[in-house]
């Protein structure tokens, strides 16, 4: 009985838990509610994942209104994969969060943090699970609005301004998306994604369709921080509380990428936009620009969180690069990287959260000698850094390998060369940190400001869980690669 309602519960559990937090207000109690809710959510998405493995596609009719009139939750290999990523990270981060939040957010605002956290989780899961275009917009706004709050809760006053800027840009992006959806609705009279793709498939490319595509692409690109629409991201990541940064970096942009894939490949259909329109080429050029320019900017950052934020922009470039090809290998590489990057960046920001507990906002200068005072955290950062570079034995290598294969399949060996060259930039910005932590002339600084405080066990454990999975998924690729491969297959053969 309950198993047939899983798709709805996936959203309803965190959504209902959020108001409870507002009512209860006690810091620890709200935390417990959030942990409980997010773990239940995680459990549900595991069950959904297993269901999809056996059943293929799950279609759930909200309130028993049959699609395409009612809202349909449609779960297939790709969005169940994303659901699993988002909910697992949501669950683990909530477990990690308590000590970090106690230090970084005022006690009387904790319940607000948790409310926003749960709403953000709801929004992200909703965007992923729903099969209805307007529903996507609504959930997107739920997640965005709560994201603005999460960022603004940062202690530094710049967090407020960063949140405001993100609010302006994010709203413009969301409005673009809603215009695009509106145009599609005017054209087809339906909002159901599957229905839309069937109807659009028959039409030849018309002017309004082009306009809709343009609005949607730009809007979603803003949300996923595709270069050069990434301006909101660095400051937002840098000044948000560590927990929020970690959660957002690992999930929010990933969900936006899923949206882009869904619209580009399924709704419009790859044959239309890749053969008749230069969307592939545009994405390709922007991705390459992101890989090089954002990485280069990252090299010059002093603030470590901001540096890794720029690195995120660059890494998103690899994901969109894979998406610009319309081949099975390329999409697989894109989705694998979506997964691997979520783990890697999640791990990095979790570790930086531990660092922030000791030294405040981590800057390069303050991190000198960290290898001595926080050996485990530093070692974890090195491992994740290697994964960002794509050293074999880490998750990052797997995605890079598939990306290169996809590019070579196309016969574009120069592009493979560029991908590798851009990962050398990652070597530079990662190694700046490694060098500062381990090889510094004056180790005295390191000892003075952090005396003998130990890191909270729960935080360390969760952070290391992420770090070990960085290595684990560098060797055991069956889950990530097979999941991605199945997802890519769905994208390419949606309407067939």
């Amino acid at each position: 009985m309950i198993s047939s309602q899983l798709p709805a519960l996936q959203i309803i559990v965190p959504l209902l838990a959020a108001p409870f937090c507002v009512i209860i207000r006690n810091s620890r109690a709200t935390w417990l509610i959030s942990v409980l809710a997010s773990w239940v959510t995680f459990g549900i998405s595991i069950l959904l994942y297993l269901d999809v493995q056996t059943l293929g596609v799950i279609s759930y009719e909200m309130g028993n209104w049959a699609p395409p009139w009612g809202i349909e939750y449609r779960i297939d290999s790709i969005n169940v994969f994303v659901l699993l990523i988002v909910s697992s990270i949501g669950a683990l981060v909530s477990l990690y969060a308590y000590p970090s939040i106690s230090v970084e957010v005022d006690e009387n605002k904790h319940y607000l943090f948790w409310t926003s956290y749960l709403l953000c989780l709801t929004g992200l899961l909703g965007v992923t699970i729903t099969g209805d275009a307007f529903n996507i917009f609504v959930f997107l706004e739920i997640s965005s609005l709560s994201t603005y709050v999460l960022i603004a809760l940062g202690k530094n006053r710049h967090a407020l301004y960063a949140a405001f800027r993100y609010l302006i840009l994010g709203t413009i992006g969301a409005t673009f998306i809603v215009i695009g959806i509106g145009l599609l609705y005017l054209l087809t009279g339906t909002l159901n994604l599957y229905d839309l793709s069937m109807r659009l498939g028959d039409m030849s490319l018309t002017q309004p369709q082009l306009a809709a595509l343009a609005f949607l692409t730009v809007g979603i690109s803003l949300k996923l921080a595709l270069f050069p629409l990434h301006l909101w991201l660095p400051n937002a990541y840098a000044f948000a509380p560590s927990v929020a940064t970690c959660f957002l970096a690992a999930t929010a942009t990933k969900v936006a990428i899923y949206l882009l894939l869904r619209f580009a490949y399924d709704v419009f259909g790859q044959s239309q936009i890749f053969s008749e329109l230069p969307l592939g080429e545009v994405l390709l050029i922007l991705s390459i620009a992101a890989m090089f320019i954002a990485s280069t900017v990252a090299i010059y950052q002093q603030d470590i969180k901001r540096m890794f934020a720029y690195s995120s922009v660059a890494q998103i470039g690899y994901i969109t690069l894979g998406a610009s090809f319309a081949s099975h290998t390329a999409l697989t590489s894109s989705i694998v990287h979506l997964f691997n990057h979520a783990i890697t960046k999640g791990a990095i920001f979790l570790l930086l959260g531990l660092v922030a507990l000791r030294i405040g906002q981590p800057t390069l200068k303050k991190m000198s000698g960290l290898g001595k005072s926080m050996p485990w955290t530093s070692a974890g950062l090195v491992i994740c850094g290697l994964s960002l570079i794509g050293v074999p034995g880490t998750a990052g290598f797997i995605s890079k390998w598939y990306l290169i294969l996809a590019v070579l399949e196309r016969g574009w060996w120069w592009l493979a060369f560029m991908i590798l060259a851009s990962s050398l930039l990652a070597v530079i910005y990662v190694w700046r940190v490694v060098e500062t932590m381990y090889v510094s002339d004056s180790d005295s600084r390191g000892d003075s400001h952090m005396a003998s405080t130990t890191s909270p066990t729960s935080m360390t454990l969760v952070a290391w869980l992420f770090v070990t999975s960085c290595i684990f998924f560098g060797f055991h690729t069956s889950f990530s690669v097979e999941g991605a491969s199945a997802a890519a297959k769905v994208l390419l053969e949606y309407t067939k």
């Binding site: 307007f134 006053r157 407020l160 405001f164 409005t175 509106g182």
Partner: protein, 121 residues
């Protein structure tokens, strides 16, 4: 008259461009929010215009009415308006906090303070 037939779309387009211009050009945070509001409300017009049928009514099953207007866009836009209100409210709340923290609402001044702070770090 083609132009007058599509007058509401022209207005919407004008509103979009005007809203975006205000967002980009104004230095004052409140004015930026105003621009955002104008921009968003253009979308409402885009959605509602095609759903309006002259002489049409809500889809009520009755023999007296033959022409129905599609209610769905109206419902959607109600949702969008709610979202818009929430955004504006949150934006204004942030503006209040920014004013408390920085003592100004001018973007260039806030950025100046930003730079100073990062230099002091």
């Amino acid at each position: 008259m083609d132009f007058l037939d599509n007058i509401n779309y022209w207005i919407a387009m004008f509103q979009i461009v005007m809203g975006l211009f205000i967002v980009i050009a104004s230095e004052n945070l409140i004015k930026t929010l105003v621009g955002l509001g104008i921009f968003q409300s253009a979308v409402y017009i885009i959605y509602i215009s095609p759903a309006k049928i002259f002489g049409g009514t809500a889809p009520i099953l009755s023999e007296n009415y033959v022409i129905y207007a599609n209610p769905l866009p109206h419902v959607l836009i109600l949702t969008a308006i709610v979202v818009g209100v929430a955004t504006t409210a949150l934006g204004l709340a942030l503006v209040v906090r920014i004013y408390e923290a920085f003592g100004t609402l001018e973007e260039d001044k806030i950025q100046e303070i930003d730079l100073e702070d990062s230099r002091n770090d």
